[in-house]
Subunit: 165 residues, 2 copies
Amino acid sequence: MDLVLSPYAESDLPDFAPVFRAIVAAGETYAYPESLSDDDIQRLWWEREPGRTVVARGRDGRFLGSAKMGPNRPGRGAHIGTASFMVAPDARGSGVGRRLLDEVIDWHRRAGFAGIPFNAVVETNVAAVRLWQSAGFTIIGTVPGAFDSATHGPVGLHVMFLPLG
Amino acid sequence: MDLVLSPYAESDLPDFAPVFRAIVAAGETYAYPESLSDDDIQRLWWEREPGRTVVARGRDGRFLGSAKMGPNRPGRGAHIGTASFMVAPDARGSGVGRRLLDEVIDWHRRAGFAGIPFNAVVETNVAAVRLWQSAGFTIIGTVPGAFDSATHGPVGLHVMFLPLG
């Protein structure tokens, strides 16, 4: 898909907030609260330095998705990064997630991070698990029943990891 | 050890903040920033409802340690808990950690949580790993090199888990 990546800006919020709410309400991939205000959503998603949030849009300006990235932990854990992704439901299966993932991995390499854990990948989110695996991530372990999936009930959360360097 | 557990109160801060700073500065167990103000430390450690923070003191009032506990994630992850522990360096090896752990497990059971993950247990913190294992926690997986230990360099962070119910 022909898309343009740019840093997240406040003007992205009207497009991003409904996508965030739709994904959280679907109850299959993210353990965020359901009743966040637009400001809450922006605060949660917009990573400032040393982190970063990017937005993907089509050439026509259509909002396609977003990824946020940054240190996994402060202090003695800050040499390891992490990231989260949201792809607009009507843009799924068109390579947006892959493009955002490539950008996230490149950014971590450029910034000198030693690796990228994804701390909570819902095991029934098979498309995401396969995408991360295709980029070299492996499943480090699975916390059983830690996510209450809307359709599957309690399912595991994978910790996945990609070493860099 | 003869100790008394009570809910964390603002009056605990002058005793807790130096312990927090000493543990973080030692660089062996926690990836918190090193230059936090007293207010930052209290904000980070004092879990309000639906979470909880407890303080352990000797019968003479001496500060021995503290534990914080609460939902591991919001929304569809809130049926799973988690906790963090700090024992005063001069109270180590006297059973304070064990007492705090028992309290944390009891609290999770009473509150109906389905399990307790510890998300980032430094693998070289052998005393803690053994204590958690003695209570039934198992190592789910280890993110390699994710903690920059002051004496060992990059070491792994275990995800440990105790199912309840």
